[in-house]
């Protein structure tokens, strides 16, 4: 079960995802990168059924690029989130994607924003969020310790806290997590999947 969570700070958003890929009792790989770059200022943390996860997110990524080439304009984070939600909603009652997502992005006007999108295509702009089993353990933790406008060190410390909690308490948690941050300067990989 994938664990992903996101925390927003002042003018940036952090996304973290575990890096293990497992089938039943077998661990297939431990360096899977579940945070995909949508464009220079958007990140997708993806959780869910393996094929759907990558196929759906690559599909969204390519459509965002197509929009950019057609209109010479990058979509805002809000627009990208709504577009993603629309695609999930349209597929829901025929051929649903089993993916849960956290979309983090930075725009000039809005600043940094984080969107929580689940497999039933519900969507919400949130200050922090987590999907899957991680949500059970981290919702309370983030509620307690998140504050508005935290700076980078504080958010990284909070992320570490979350990861430790998962390592301690979640039976199926991966040991390794990948962490990426998006801000006005683009995307920064704090911890790569392969390390």
């Amino acid at each position: 079960m994938d664990s992903i969570f996101g925390i927003s700070g002042r003018d940036f958003v952090l996304l973290a995802a575990d890096t293990s890929q497992a089938r039943s009792i077998v661990v297939l790989k431990t360096d899977e990168d579940k945070i995909m770059k949508l464009d220079d200022h958007k990140l997708f943390a993806m959780a869910g059924e393996n094929g759907d996860r990558t196929a759906f997110c690559e599909y969204i990524q390519k459509n965002l690029h197509l929009y950019y080439y057609r209109n010479d304009l990058k979509l805002s984070t809000r627009a990208a989130a709504n577009y993603t939600r629309k695609e999930l909603a349209e597929a829901l009652r025929s051929d649903p994607y089993n993916v849960n997502l956290l979309l983090a992005g930075y725009d000039e006007e809005e600043g940094a924003s984080l969107y929580f999108i689940d497999y039933l295509s519900s969507m919400s702009k949130v200050p922090f969020g987590a999907h899957g089993y991680a949500g059970f353990f981290l919702s309370g933790l983030l509620d307690r310790y998140w504050q508005k406008d935290m700076d980078r060190e504080q958010v990284l410390a909070l992320a570490d806290r979350c990861i430790n909690e998962l390592r301690t308490r979640l039976l199926v948690a991966g040991n390794n997590f990948t962490i990426k941050i998006v801000d006005k300067d683009g995307i920064q990989v704090v911890k790569a999947a392969s390390s």
């Binding site: 690559e58 599909y59 390519k62 459509n63 690029h65 197509l66 080439y69 057609r70 010479d72």
Partner: protein, 246 residues
């Protein structure tokens, strides 16, 4: 329901596809576009059509980005170009989605040419009235391809399409040499020089430059004007030398 299945493009008794030839005529009515392949640079130059007084002076872009590293310029019916460019952009993303790799310039040229050919062999449709110039770098090598209404595509070292293209092509055939386009500046100069053969003023020219692994850049107005001035001064000097040698 009226029948839309009858072909419009059919062979003439002497083996011509007149609709395709008429489409080529339409291309030759469009404003000029040229492309030059240098050693490590590609230069696109287009004639800017003068806009009507009341029209927004925003440039009617005859140079379009198809993909991250592939650019297209065209001559002919702008609306037809819009449709083809859109299809090409979708194909580029579809290719990336399928093989997780950027499409090559040849692939895009082949694809666009394929569409243009289809429209010469389908019922109820007419050929696209545009010829395209497609440029980009494949494996760090600069490539220039062209397509035309018949659906043929070919690779070129330099090419002109549209109004007065014959004149520009002749100029290029005389003046294009490997040494002449060795440096990036020389290639840009040759492009502007060949356009100036058929376009009057620098304000009617737009030049785009494609360098390896770099985004598309447009030559700024000041740089272009300076270049045109240099070219015209050189032309004057050559003329004077020719006169004095007589």
């Amino acid at each position: 329901m009226a029948r839309y299945d009858r072909a419009i493009t059919v062979f003439s008794p002497d083996g011509h596809l007149f609709q395709v030839e008429y489409a080529l005529e339409a291309v030759n009515k469009g404003t000029t576009a040229i492309a030059i392949r240098g050693k490590d640079i590609l230069v696109l130059g287009v004639e800017r059509k003068s806009v009507a007084k009341l029209q927004d002076n925003r440039t009617v872009r005859k140079i379009a980005k198809l993909d991250d590293k592939i650019t297209l310029a065209f001559a002919g019916l702008t609306a037809d170009a819009r449709v083809l460019i859109n299809r090409a952009r979708i194909e580029a993303q579809s290719y990336r989605l399928t093989v997780e790799d950027a499409p090559s310039v040849e692939h895009m040229a082949k694809y666009i040419a394929g569409i243009q050919q289809k429209y010469t062999q389908s019922g109820g449709v007419r050929p696209f009235g545009i010829s395209t110039l497609i440029v980009g770098f494949d494996h760090n090598e600069p490539k220039l391809f062209s397509t035309d209404p018949s659906g043929t595509y070919a690779e070129w070292k330099a090419l002109a399409v549209g109004r007065n293209s014959k004149q520009v092509k002749e100029f290029l055939e005389t003046n294009y040499k490997a040494e002449a386009v060795e440096s990036q500046d020389a290639a840009v100069k040759l492009a502007v020089k060949s356009l100036l053969e058929v376009v009057e003023a620098s304000k009617n020219i737009e030049v785009a430059i494609v360098r390896n692994n770099q985004p598309l850049t447009f030559l700024k107005d000041e740089e272009l004007e300076a270049l045109v001035k240099t070219i015209e001064e050189e032309k004057e000097k050559e003329k004077q030398e020719a006169e004095s040698n007589k």
